[in-house]
């Protein structure tokens, strides 16, 4: 099974191709706002360097948020159009889970953190049994203070993300912080194989913005 994985939800554009659980190729580029123009070319280049025809793809896994609004839309629009054209399914993946998925073997609870506007973050908490991640707190949007308060009950949780280091609320916690700014680029594609039964037809995919358009006005 060949899976193409795409994650444009952060500053980085992550692309990976996996085949039967093995990573064939992965790339992570800090493209910023050039994502939409470079993404199709990068995918084509990766496929041709592997001598894989685009028609050989069985599934496209795409990070559908939370993260940058434009990045979410870029990734989804490209992936959905490609899946539609190829007649294959598409699998929405949480960008927060993709960000920490390679750390699941540590057995530690994992708390990915992305900065959102003002004093807010996108965050989640996953428990790991050593081989699989289970969401304990589903991806959410809240103040850094709120999530830090919650994490005081889980001092063993590993906070993941360079963004966490800009908030004092997290630095004062006893928790370890892994200050990475980007996850392993092929994780999205690998997760595509793990979770393939949750894949949907391209017209069903939605962005998970976790801000007003889907959660209603907030007081922040």
């Amino acid at each position: 099974m060949k899976v193409l994985g795409i994650d444009c939800t952060t500053k980085f554009t992550n692309i990976g191709i996996t085949s039967d659980g093995g990573v064939l190729s992965e790339i992570s580029l800090e493209l910023g706002r050039q994502q939409s123009s470079r993404l199709p070319v990068l995918v084509e280049e990766m496929l041709s360097s592997l001598s894989i025809e685009i028609s050989e793809l069985d599934l496209i896994a795409v990070a559908n948020g939370p993260g940058y609004y434009t990045g979410i839309r870029t990734g989804i629009a490209y992936s959905a159009a490609l899946a539609q054209a190829l007649g294959i399914k598409i699998l929405p993946i949480s960008s927060l889970e993709a960000f920490v998925h390679d750390l699941r073997n540590t057995g530690l609870p994992l708390a990915p953190v992305f900065k959102a506007r003002q004093n807010c973050v996108y965050c989640a908490l996953y428990f790991s049994d050593g081989s699989q991640l289970k969401p304990f707190v589903y991806p959410k949007f809240c103040t850094a203070e709120e999530f830090a308060d919650f994490l005081t009950h889980y001092p063993e949780a590993l906070i993941v993300g360079k963004d966490a280091t800009i908030f004092n609320e997290f630095s004062v916690l006893p928790n370890n912080i892994l200050p990475r700014s980007v996850g392993r680029p092929a994780q999205t594609a690998l997760m595509g194989e793990y979770y393939k039964e949750f894949s949907v037809t391209p017209d069903k995919i939605l962005g998970v913005y976790l801000r007003e358009p889907d959660i209603g006005p907030t007081s922040y």
């Binding site: 500053k11 910023g32 940058y68 609004y69 506007r117 006005p217």
Partner: protein
């Protein structure tokens, strides 16, 4: 240009002509840095676009127009500039969808007219400029500049120095120490 009051977080000035309002923008542009957000408030014709043109001039962009109809205009250069106008937006939800955070993190200078319609503007690296007409003078403006965050405070300090220098120079030339309000 006349400075009415200054503090670390706020500067009140009066400009007496369109040229002076434009130069104020130019001085701000000279101090701009990547990720700086400039919110402009003021009614129609108060000079929001004029200030933006001054900022743009300092960054090397001479063709800045009011982006009321395009919402967001991108100007690429050494220090890239985003010029947005939220006049046509119906709600702050739409402002959120313009993804200003992305521009900020990508190192743009972000100038937003009708900035009050972006309810979730950043809490640092932000300059807030309010423009009002000065008494009954058609071309004079009361301009209040407020800053949020340490870097923006530094910018304000530099900006005040630039303005003080300019006004002192002018006063020397005019050989007058009188109140500029009656020039």
């Amino acid at each position: 240009m006349h400075c009415l009051s200054r503090s670390t977080k706020k500067l009140d000035i009066v400009t007496f002509s369109e040229e002076e309002t434009y130069s104020l923008g130019y001085f701000i542009g000279k101090q701009a840095y990547p990720g700086l957000v400039i919110l402009l408030h003021g009614g129609l014709g108060m000079g929001k676009t004029l200030i933006t043109q001054g900022i743009g001039k300092a960054l090397g962009f001479s063709k800045i127009k009011s982006p009321t109809f395009v919402l967001v205009a991108e100007h690429s250069g050494e220090l890239p500039l985003i010029h947005a106008d939220l006049y046509r937006l119906d709600s702050h939800v739409e402002a959120d969808a313009l993804d200003f955070e992305n521009y900020i993190d990508s190192g743009y200078v972000v100038v937003i007219e009708w900035g009050e319609r972006w309810h979730t503007s950043p809490l640092n690296n932000t300059i807030d400029i309010t423009i009002k007409q000065h008494s009954n003078n058609e071309y004079a403006r009361d301009i209040t500049i407020k800053v949020l965050g340490e870097s923006a405070e530094n910018l304000l300090r530099e900006l005040s120095c630039d303005i003080m220098e300019l006004t002192c120079e002018k006063e020397d030339k005019h050989e007058s120490s009188g109140n500029r309000l009656y020039d």
